[in-house]
């Protein structure tokens, strides 16, 4: 089934079409959810929420622009809603954000950083850092857009981003070093 058929079927709430949509796109969307989640379970929760939204609001997809892009947008929005719902981390300005942050500039050897590793280090970040980092780096939003979406200050977004980046770099370098020693 092509995307077009699937979309039409889903608008009619046709079960076959819904299953086909899940089958074709759940992998892609779970990959996104994993980036925003602490662990796989949380990601799977998010994925289900996202798909319910997709199935019940598929009529809103205008037909212009890529369908995958629309799916991604719905999923990212679900992740943001999820973040707000579980927001017990309002106190996000740490003291060490005002400490100089060393930023390395060396490249990474990609072999030592698998997608799985990246998911893991992302999962270890605090939810606020993770949101900002994902939205900025992977989704490509600007800081002022992120600030609006997450209802935070622009400067908070910027500082969380650079802090998250420093933490990630440190973790990945450590991981790579470990792997090098074993290989």
């Amino acid at each position: 089934m092509s995307d077009q058929h699937i979309i039409e079927g889903c608008i009619r709430h046709n079960r076959k079409a819904q299953q086909a949509l899940w089958k074709q796109h759940s992998g892609f969307l779970l990959g996104i959810c994993l980036r925003y989640a602490t662990d796989r379970m949380e990601a799977e929760d998010m994925l289900q929420e996202a798909f319910l939204k997709i199935f019940f609001n598929i009529g809103e997809y205008s037909g212009t622009g890529s369908f995958r892009g629309w799916l991604r947008k719905v999923t990212v929005n679900t992740a943001i809603t999820y973040y707000h719902k579980n927001l017990r981390h309002k106190h996000h300005v740490d003291i060490d954000e005002f400490v100089t942050i060393e930023t390395g500039s060396e490249g990474f050897e990609e072999d030592f950083c698998t997608a799985e590793d990246l998911y893991r280090v992302l999962g270890e970040l605090s939810p606020g850092y993770r949101m900002v980092f994902n939205l900025y780096t992977v989704e490509g939003y600007k800081h002022h857009e992120i600030a609006e979406m997450l209802k935070i200050d622009v400067n908070t977004s910027k500082s969380q981003y650079s802090r998250a980046r420093a933490i990630l770099r440190k973790k990945l370098e450590k991981l790579a070093e470990l792997k090098k020693r074993y290989i």
Partner: protein
């Protein structure tokens, strides 16, 4: 201070690897979601499908028909609900299984964190203090399918390409897939034609051994990934899921009313956490499986009370209170020498202050409620008897100072908790 430089290397890394990742959800998740969707759809108004509105209408119609039939012959009323039931049931059958047949690439389902199928859990009663050891005696061999593409939970597209070209295969053999923390797992790489092995244990640990014993000491679900390489640079990946269950913490308090042990029921207050099942052993051969227990002892004794707490996964923890009812405040002790006042009998009444010269033979005691002391000479003559703890022997018998030497004493009585006192010993009367 905000630094807004860019870290291009890091950003590129994340963008390249995670922008279009494919992580295929497991069959369990798919089934679960489809059921959830079905429920949601059922609640939605949709004229072309059986849903809650039809169901309500049908139920109302059924009720009406049933109500009407109450006034007609009884055999019809019996028949009607049956027909109605069968209609609703067949219409409501949900759970579409059609999707599961041709699902690609997920190992998590086949290796199975299915704890119900994970075999019997044996609790060995090792005397480790305060802790039960739970061992799972089972060997589960993970997927033996030789299609590497099917074995990876998480494969990015370029990895699929490289595994498909080679004949390299990887599979993981684990000694167990689930157990209580700390969980020791033996991993073995079953790889054909590999020359390099890399393990990632899912908790940050890694190794390059063929066979390795790894201990997880934090509860959680870990995705173990085995990557093997051959000398041509081909690569195969296999993964397995290890579930490490948390251990409960057993804890309890004893609420013992004052008075004799045997006269009151004693309440045991359960303070355990993370447990769903409990086993009490009161130390007198009686046990209980209740959450909280009260118990009454038949006789005085030294009892070790034990509580074992089991979690829903069968992990256990235990706590033992030894000698639970021995009161440290209960004692009676006697000296072994006496130096009587030679000037005449003192009468035997004493206080701790008045008898600094050790002129009276008396015990140091606490918590004694009844008391009888008898002192005999070597000839067997009862030279002194007292039922009063405050009355000791001053070394005189019928007004005469006894001769120096060894005398035998015997005491009977009981403590306030009902524990009997039966003691005997000797005391030397000193010749100043």
């Amino acid at each position: 201070m905000i630094i807004d430089e860019r870290d291009n290397a890091l950003e590129d890394l994340f963008r390249n690897k995670l922008e279009e990742p494919e992580v295929i959800p497991g069959d369990d998740l798919t089934r679960h979601f489809m059921r959830r969707l079905e429920r949601k759809e059922f609640l939605r108004f949709n004229p072309s499908r059986f849903n809650v509105f039809y169901f309500t209408a049908l139920a109302a119609a059924g009720a009406t028909v049933a109500g009407m039939l109450l006034f007609s012959p009884p055999k019809n009323t019996l028949h009607q609900p049956e027909a109605y039931d069968s209609v609703t049931l067949s219409e409501m059958t949900i759970i579409p299984e059609t999707m599961t047949g041709d699902k690609p690439a997920d190992l998590s389902g086949s290796v199975g964190p299915d704890r119900k199928g994970a075999g019997p859990i044996i609790i060995s009663n090792e005397p480790a203090p305060g802790r039960e050891v739970v061992t799972e005696r089972q060997t589960v061999i993970s997927t033996t399918s030789h299609d590497t593409a099917e074995e990876a939970v998480l494969i990015s597209k370029n990895e699929i390409a490289s595994t498909a070209t080679g004949l390299l295969r990887a599979a993981i053999e684990t000694s167990t897939v689930a157990g209580c923390v700390p969980l020791s797992v033996n991993f073995r790489s079953i790889a054909s034609g590999s020359f390099m092995t890399v393990w990632s244990f899912g908790d940050g640990g890694s190794s390059d051994e063929q066979e390795i014993n790894y201990i997880y000491d934090i509860p959680g679900t870990y995705n173990v990934v085995l990557t093997v390489f051959d000398d041509k640079g081909h690569k195969a990946v296999s993964s397995s899921r290890i579930e490490v269950w948390p251990r409960p913490r057993a804890s309890f308090e004893i609420h013992q009313p004052d008075g004799y042990l045997t006269e009151n029921s004693i309440r045991f207050v359960n303070l355990s956490t993370g447990a769903t099942q409990y086993l009490w052993d009161f130390g007198d051969g009686v046990s209980s499986g209740a959450f909280e227990a009260t118990h009454r002892y038949e006789a005085y004794g030294r009892f070790d009370v034990m509580l074992v707490a089991f979690s829903e996964y069968g992990c256990a923890d235990s706590v033992i209170v030894t000698d639970a009812f021995t009161d440290a405040g209960l004692y009676i002790r006697f000296p072994n020498a006496l130096m009587p006042n030679t000037a005449g009998p003192t009468g035997g009444y004493y206080t701790a202050r008045s008898d600094r010269a050790n002129q009276v033979f008396h015990p140091v005691a606490s918590g004694v409620t009844s008391y009888n002391l008898k002192i005999f000479s070597k000839q067997g003559v009862l030279v002194f008897e007292s039922n009063d703890l405050n009355l000791g022997w001053d070394g005189y018998y019928k007004g005469q100072l006894c001769s120096p030497g060894v005398y035998i004493w015997k005491v009977r009585g009981s403590y306030r908790n009902g524990e009997p006192i039966v003691m005997s010993g000797d005391v030397t009367l000193l010749n100043y």
